[in-house]
């Protein structure tokens, strides 16, 4: 058990390395640079900007820097080795593991990417929280009711809703909902920055739209597993003992039916991350997703890289937590051999 947990947790490291490396090299070879402006910057300015952000360094290793450090007289092998590794790629990778994602070029280095993430992510996290709460609080009862009233209109209604929710992408349903609300109720998604500051009603609509897909998936999953459990022997036994229906549903069926739902929380994390990129842009929420989209337009490569790495870490960690929680939720699942 302990070994499994350790292995599972440590596996996150190569995943992060791979994601960061892939992102780095794709961005490295992307055409255009962070200093592309309508009016070309003078060569001297470019040189000083590049020097300031270490963009003039070699890609892999930097023997010159090692030589300089050697000549300065310091013989500490770690110090020399770090000089040898003073290339752009090693620097970036070392930075990632120190939580340093480099400066945001669009801000001319005034803000680091990790600070930008810290500033923007809370809005996204709050949206994600609303989405998850909505998904579970609506999805589970919808699935349970559908399964208990199988093949009635309630079942068909819930099934139709969840099928639509699973298949229609949130950016389409979000846009259509926004259009509908703005035409019938003159609803406007525009909010002042103060309204996003706390945890106010501004989060309600975008959060719900963000959670639509997960909610529908949970509803479908709950329905399927409830239907399966309905026919189990232990449910019949519980009923035969004379327990009332409510107790059988709550204590015997639901408890078992909810186990599979834990399994989708990992993929759901990835869904919410990618969903928030679109939803925040549609609803104008000042979160990390919208920042990501804006940094694409600004060609702010360090923000694009940093955000991608951050999201990948988030999803990887969510997957680990979900994997580890199986054993807690369902004692029948044992880790290891």
């Amino acid at each position: 058990m302990g070994e499994f947990v350790l292995r599972r947790v440590l596996w996150v490291i190569p995943v992060i390395v791979t994601v960061a490396a892939v992102t780095f090299f794709l961005m490295y070879r992307a055409p255009g640079g962070p200093w592309d402006r309508d009016k070309e910057l003078p060569a001297a300015t470019l040189r000083s900007l590049n020097a300031r952000f270490g963009l003039d360094k070699p890609l892999w290793v930097n023997p010159d820097e090692a030589a300089v450090r050697w000549q300065e007289g310091d013989r500490n092998p770690l110090w020399i080795a770090r000089g040898y590794l003073d290339g752009r790629f090693p620097n970036y990778m070392i930075g990632v593991f120190q939580g340093d994602l480099g400066p945001s070029y669009a801000s001319k280095g005034a803000e680091n990417v990790q600070d930008l993430i810290a500033r923007k992510f809370p809005v996204s996290a709050k949206l994600g929280l609303v989405a998850i709460i909505f998904a579970v609080v609506v999805g589970v009862p919808l699935g349970v009711i559908a399964a208990l009233r199988q093949n009635t209109w309630v079942d068909y209604l819930s099934l139709t809703m969840s099928t639509v929710g699973v298949s229609v992408p949130t950016f389409v349903s979000g846009l259509l909902l926004l259009l509908f609300l703005s035409q019938t109720f003159s609803y406007s998604p525009i909010r002042s920055p103060e309204q996003w500051a706390g945890f106010g009603p501004s989060y309600l609509l975008p959060g719900i739209v963000l959670g639509l897909g997960t909610m529908s998936y949970i509803a479908r999953l709950t329905r399927t597993s409830m239907l399966e459990i309905k026919r189990q022997d232990f449910v019949r036994t519980a009923r035969a003992k004379g327990l009332n229906g409510q107790a059988v549903v709550n204590r015997h069926m639901l408890r078992n039916a909810l186990i599979p739902i834990v399994t989708i929380l990992g993929p759901a994390a990835a869904d919410l991350v990618t969903g928030s990129i679109i939803i925040e842009s549609i609803f104008g929420a000042p979160g990390l997703g919208r920042e990501f989209v804006e940094s694409i337009a600004k060609r702010d490569y360090s923000v694009i890289m940093g955000t991608a790495v951050f999201y990948a870490v988030l999803v990887a960690v969510a997957n680990v937590v979900v994997d580890l929680s199986y054993g807690l939720v369902d004692p029948r699942i044992r880790f290891g051999r």
Binding site: P14, V22, M27, T163, P169, V172, E228, A270, T274, I296
Partner: protein, 351 residues
Amino acid sequence: MVQDQTVSRPAPPIAAPVIPTAPATPAVPATPTLAGALTTRAPRSLWTDAWRQFRRNKLALLGAVYLVFLFFVGVFAPLISPHNPVQSDLQEAGRYRQAAWIETDDPSSTGTWSYPLGTDGNGRDVFSRLVYGTRISLVVGFIPMAVIMLIGIPIGLLAGFAGGRLDNTLMRVTDVVYAFPALLFFIIMQISFGDTAFGELLNGLVLLFITLSIINWTGVARLVRGQTLALKEKEFVEAARASGSDSVRLVARHILPNTLGTIIVAGAFVVPGAIIAEAVLTYLGIGLRPDVNLDAPFPTSWGQMIQAGQAAYRNQAWLLIAPSLAVAGITLAFTFVGDGLRDALDPREQF
């Protein structure tokens, strides 16, 4: 290897992890006389059974019919569309003519049936653009799926059957792919290659095919691998081996046919994913670029129309509604078909 599978990604405990479909082709063909003696009706193959099951599902049938309809719309787009999808009608430019059934006080923007869904800001017919947009959605959905299958199935079979280093590598790669949200990777690929000569091939379609394939083959490979692992322990494979089949024959004749059901179901869910990815990327402005040639075969996509529609929906709501409904319709149709196929081909894998 079995242990590895349960540990790295435990399947939902209620549904058994990997359940092969019933063998499609019995290892030793039953002699017709024996079959005839035992049953009065002709033996039905898995595929006949699946088709009967599929037909019973009305929604799946509806979805399939709709997809066939879209296929013909795409093929015969020039005959269906009343106007050229790229050419601006200068008379209409900037007027945002409404959809045909919406009447306004202004005669220059009130609906008319010569523009069934109205016009966009450049005076182009929305209906014609919608019809042509079908082409991109279908191409973007099916071509990557074909590539994914061509890569994923052989690798999955090989990894599952031979095991060893290839199997380990495959599992590690899929682990990384699981952690990297697909849309993020697509975005980064588009930024990195979008402005190169290669990225501009066919307005970015080629790059999009490659991007979509790179990520998605791993899912299919993993699925096929799991099936192969389970199938190669089955008695009918053992029997075939005992009667002298070599590995190639074992895989090609006995294992592959039995994974086809799962593969087809997976394919039905890969296609809408690719269609959505194209729409999202283009909506973000980093997917396909608009074509200005009057006789372009792929002039626009629904993603582009949604992007344009969002900017102007206050002037002309159907600019946004029409392409949104089109995307919603095609993804819904694929879900219906996919659900139907799963019930028909993979009866025990309910989710």
